[in-house]
């Protein structure tokens, strides 16, 4: 199907880029504090938020139909589920 043309405004793209840079700065700053496991979880949380920004805006998931979004969600869900199971497993050994 020739999908509708969605042209993202340059300003919007630049704004996402600025957000990503700020989040990178946050990642570096948070790493200075030693909250043990919490620090790792915050770092991964920020990284995941950055991934969502890249996926939704730069990779145009925003414009794709529900089928695309579901596929991406399922793929990431499997990965996160496996990591979560591993996390629970090792935490209670």
């Amino acid at each position: 199907m020739e999908t509708e043309k969605h042209i993202v405004d340059d300003k919007k793209n630049i704004l996402i880029w600025v957000d990503l840079l700020i989040l990178t700065f946050v990642t570096v700053e948070i790493a200075q504090f030693d909250f043990k496991t919490l620090t790792i979880l915050i770092a991964l949380g920020v990284a995941t938020f950055k991934t969502i920004l890249v996926g939704y805006f730069f990779m145009h998931l925003k414009f794709e139909n529900r089928f695309f979004k579901t596929m991406v969600f399922l793929c990431l869900f499997v990965l996160i589920a496996v990591l979560a199971i591993l996390f629970i497993d090792y935490s209670y050994r």
Binding site: L21, T24, V54, E64, C75, L79, L83, Y90
Partner: protein
Amino acid sequence: MEATVHATGHVAHRDDEGKRMGMWLFLFTEVLLFGGLFIVYAAYRFINPEDFHTGSQHLDWVIGAINTVILLTSSLTVALSISAIQSGNTKKAKILLYLTLAFALAFLVNKYFEWGGKIHHGLFPGMEEFKHLTHGESLFFVLYFFMTGLHGLHIIAGGIFIGFILYYINKGEVTSESYTLHENAGLYWHLVDVIWIYLFPLFYLII
């Protein structure tokens, strides 16, 4: 599927959505490839938290941060180039793609010096200094070289993909009306960026 009947009676089929879906399916396999490595990383780190901490202190987080900024900026230039080709500004699209290639090269040059420093200190698996590391530290460096190395290969592959897009723009096959290939190159490049978004805190900023 949309069929366009040309004056000659020739029927051309185009399935842009299908092409993008194919790319996304390929990206899922990439996610699972790197995902598997992240799982290995997580398991070994659980077992050797102190060793992973000392291992990461051998890495310079400033170089990692610079490379993060380089890759994020290259993602921006790719996204801008897609908007440019859609609006028919071929020249701008090409300049932005050349910029992306320059950023890719800068990333690899940084990586070259970083790896070079580690290899100089004998930290590459099998080298003299590496043999004196504790078990956990050696696991850290094996994973570091393997994962950043595999990521580096993806940067090279992404660069080649973008090179092809430049070639097709010049040939007039990627245009403001037919740009799905360009979008797919962008998708691949963004994925490589996303993988680095995780590699950076996990290797350079371990607490």
